[in-house]
């Protein structure tokens, strides 16, 4: 199953990319996918507190299952307007 990841702002800097494709075996929670990107799980847990999740352009809860073909975006605190 292919998931398309999107990184913005500080997360884009952190991961050195704005987009990434990953493969997962089965639908997985958004927050688990986020955690799996970090080697340091403590850092992941700290960052998860201020990151919101969006699947296919809609905000979702961190526990939402992400499915094949979904676009999963990690949204750090916004500052538009």
């Amino acid at each position: 199953m292919k998931i398309h990841l999107r990184f913005f702002a500080t997360l884009c800097n952190r991961f050195g990319t704005g987009e990434q494709e990953i493969e997962i075996e089965a639908p997985q929670e958004a927050r688990e996918i986020f955690r799996s990107l970090f080697e340091d799980r403590n850092l992941a847990d700290r960052m998860i507190r201020f990151v919101r999740f969006a699947v296919n352009c809609e905000y979702v809860s961190p526990e939402t299952l992400v499915h094949d073909g979904d676009e999963l975006a990690f949204i750090p605190p916004v500052s538009g307007g």
């Binding site: 800097n13 969006a54 352009c57 975006a73 538009g80 307007g81």
Partner: protein, 128 residues
């Protein structure tokens, strides 16, 4: 009218887009990049597809809460020079209080929810 665009916002056109002879009250909010500390502009990062969908949601919620006749929301991203507008909101309503409430709600919601980021200036310092 909902738009998320990299091009300069045609402010007058956005304001005009909500005008009909049926509305008596118009409230606008315009956010611009202001001169400070010698900057020449701000760079807005954006997730355009989602930003558009969030703006539509915000507009629909405002229309559910207040009696509003027409509404336009345009947000710019990319490089916005000092003095240029980053966001323009126009609301037309029969009653001015509803127009004010709806317009203020929209900009507050944008600030909370639209996936748009002013790029931190230190990132340019790092790159230099």
């Amino acid at each position: 009218m909902i738009e998320v665009t990299e091009k300069p916002i045609e402010v007058e056109k956005v304001l005009q887009s909500v005008v009909t002879e049926k509305s008596g009250g118009f409230v606008h909010f315009i956010g611009s990049v202001r001169q400070e500390k010698g900057i020449s502009g701000l760079d807005y990062e954006c997730y355009p597809a989602m930003a558009r969908s969030i703006l539509v949601k915000i507009m629909n919620e405002a229309k559910q809460r207040w009696k509003v006749e027409r509404m336009a929301i345009v947000h710019r991203y990319g490089w916005v020079a000092v003095g240029e507008s980053s966001v323009v909101i126009a609301v037309a309503a029969e009653h001015r209080r509803e127009a004010f409430a709806a317009c203020e709600f929209v900009i507050e919601e944008i600030k909370k929810k639209a996936p748009i980021w002013k790029r931190e200036r230190f990132s340019y310092v790092q790159n230099s």
